[in-house]
């Protein structure tokens, strides 16, 4: 099993979600996060007082999928989240040792 963590532009969430559902991925966790990569922050001015905001709002998706589907999911996700501009985000993939369905104690890929 692979865990796929994708940090994407918040306004791309709906598109990504729909693309994933379309290929049959029916579980995901979404978190509102803040951060930045190479994309630098922006300037905000409040009554003449200037602030540089370098941690920008992003959305982080987490999903765990069977090894066999990982590539397909990553490609779908990246295609849906891509605008081609700096700040589109990143995808991280890692191994998952075990998955447990709390309701009935299913283990491994059966729990996904």
């Amino acid at each position: 099993m692979k865990k796929i963590e994708a940090i994407i532009q918040p306004f791309k969430l709906d598109e990504v979600k729909e693309a994933l559902i379309a290929i049959g991925i029916d579980g995901m966790t979404v978190i509102e996060v803040r951060g930045h990569g190479r994309q630098k922050g922006h300037k905000e001015i409040y009554r003449g007082q200037e602030y540089t905001v370098d941690l920008l709002p992003k959305v982080k998706l987490e999903l765990v999928v069977p090894d066999s589907r990982a590539d397909e999911v990553i490609q779908t996700l990246a295609a849906a989240a891509r605008t081609g501009k700096i700040g589109d985000g990143k995808i991280f993939v890692s191994e998952v040792a075990e998955a447990i369905r709390i309701r009935n104690d299913d283990r491994g890929e059966a729990a996904l």
């Binding site: 905000e44 001015i45 409040y46 009554r47 003449g48 007082q49 602030y51």
Partner: protein, 450 residues
């Protein structure tokens, strides 16, 4: 039971039918007309009183509450809300008497202690009770305005003590001098420095704004100012607050006509026009200088305009109101966005930059634009302001503003010294970092887990 109304009707009809004397009948009608007029005025004044209270809660509480960081929003709102209680009780016991009792030059007397003699008697046009409660709403919002300067770092106990003492030393004397019988600055009562202050440019805005500056200087900067970002935590509630202030200000200014007559219309229109022009003034300068027109700029400009038009509202034409508002918006922007940063003091929510500066601009411009075209001059005066040929009124207005500056600054400094000695004015740095909501009040505004 059912016979009672019939009996009452007969009782009323009988004398009427028996009246042969036309004079008595006319007197009766005159009395009825006066009663009807009193009722009309009273209705407007009660609505105005409610509108002015709405300016403090929720208006100012939301406006200020949105501007602070999320850990201080309740503490900031509490500053406004608690004054709705504290200033009211003080006013009932002694404040009203010290502001409006007797005919002294500087301060009232003890004639109306515990509201003695303040009842339903309407010989002044509206019931004395209505006048008392309308004026009370001003005594609530004025000290609440100051809280913008010491937001996010003042001890609650010190804030209470400060505002009580401040009401005695600054507010009650100011209200008396400008609006009270025989007051030093009251142009309509032969005051030696005759000023026009329709709804509180000096009494409310200069006094609170200058006191705010002294508070900001005395208490010092917030921990981390200005290197740490201290962005408003929720501008949406600030916008709602500003809109409530704008609407409430109709009661504040048009209510200050103390009747529902044409004077109220003059003030109502001037108030609205002043706010509109100031919004445009602020946004325009901001757009040119900072590159973008901001929502925060628009609402701050509106409040600056409302402040600026306050002393002038009942004395100026709608076109003059546009000019006063626009200038107030531009000057307050310059003060808040340029001068404040150069001087480096931390007037956290710009109580001085908006109320002190806007109030002063308004006070002086009232001397320019006040005109007999819309308001009656004091007895024996040929006109009101510069536009009526009375250039010296600009000097009078400036002197009145200056006197308010001096009184507010000195008194605030002394009161802060006293508060510091008795309870300490500033929270310790640990409490400041934690935020006033938790440190002072034991609660949080936004609870994730509930």
């Amino acid at each position: 039971m059912n016979r009672l109304p019939i009996l009452t009707g007969i009782l009323f009809l009988l004398p009427g039918m028996a009246l042969a004397d036309a004079g008595a009948r006319i007197a009766e009608l005159e009395q009825a007309v006066a009663a009807a007029q009193m009722s009309a005025d009273n209705a407007w004044m009660l609505v105005s009183s409610a509108l002015v209270l709405m300016m403090t809660g929720p208006g100012l509480a939301l406006f200020y509450g949105g501007l602070v960081r999320r850990k201080n929003v309740l503490g900031t709102m509490m500053h406004s809300f608690i004054l709705m209680a504290v200033a009211t009780v003080l006013w009932a016991v002694i404040g009203y008497s010290l502001a409006f009792g007797g005919g002294g030059r500087l301060v009232g007397n003890f004639d109306h202690l515990l509201l003695d003699g303040v009842g339903t008697d309407a010989s002044g046009g509206i019931p004395a009770l209505t006048f008392m409660v309308f004026q009370l709403m001003f005594a609530i919002i004025t000290p609440a305005l100051i809280s913008g300067a010491f937001a996010e770092r003042m001890k609650f106990s010190a804030m209470l003590l400060f505002t009580v003492l401040w009401s005695f030393v600054v507010y009650y004397p100011m209200a008396h001098m400008v609006w009270g019988g025989g007051g030093l600055l009251n142009a309509f009562e032969n005051g030696p420095i005759p000023c026009f202050d329709f709804a509180g440019g000096t009494v409310v805005h200069i006094s609170s704004g200058v006191s705010a500056l002294v508070c900001a200087l005395y208490i010092g900067k917030r921990h981390g100012f200005p290197s740490e970002a201290m962005k408003p935590h929720n501008l949406v509630i600030s916008v709602i607050g500003a809109c409530l202030l704008w609407v409430g200000w109709f009661g504040f200014n048009a209510g200050s006509a103390l009747s529902a007559g044409a004077g109220a219309s003059t003030a109502f229109v001037a108030t609205h026009f002043g706010a509109a022009a100031a919004t445009l003034g602020w946004v325009l300068v901001e757009w040119i200088r900072d590159g973008k027109p901001s929502m925060l700029g628009a609402i701050t400009g509106a409040v600056a305009g409302l402040v600026g038009i306050t002393p002038a509202a009942g004395f100026v034409t709608p076109m003059a109101a546009l000019v006063i508002g626009f200038l107030a918006g531009v000057v307050c922007y310059w003060m808040v966005a340029v001068v404040k940063h150069k001087l480096g003091y931390d007037d956290s929510l710009d109580a001085f930059g908006v109320h002190g500066v806007g109030g002063t601009v308004g006070a002086v411009l009232t001397g320019v634009f006040a005109t007999k075209a819309v308001a009656d001059p004091p007895e024996g005066w040929a006109g009101l302001g510069l536009v009526d040929g009375n250039a010296f009124q600009v000097v009078n207005q400036t002197l009145g503003a200056l006197l308010t500056w001096v009184l507010a600054a000195l008194a605030t400094f002394l009161i802060l010294k006293i508060c510091d000695a008795l309870v300490g004015v500033r929270v310790d740095s640990e409490q400041e970092t934690q935020g006033l909501d938790l440190a002072m009040h034991g609660e949080e505004a936004y609870n994730f887990e509930s």
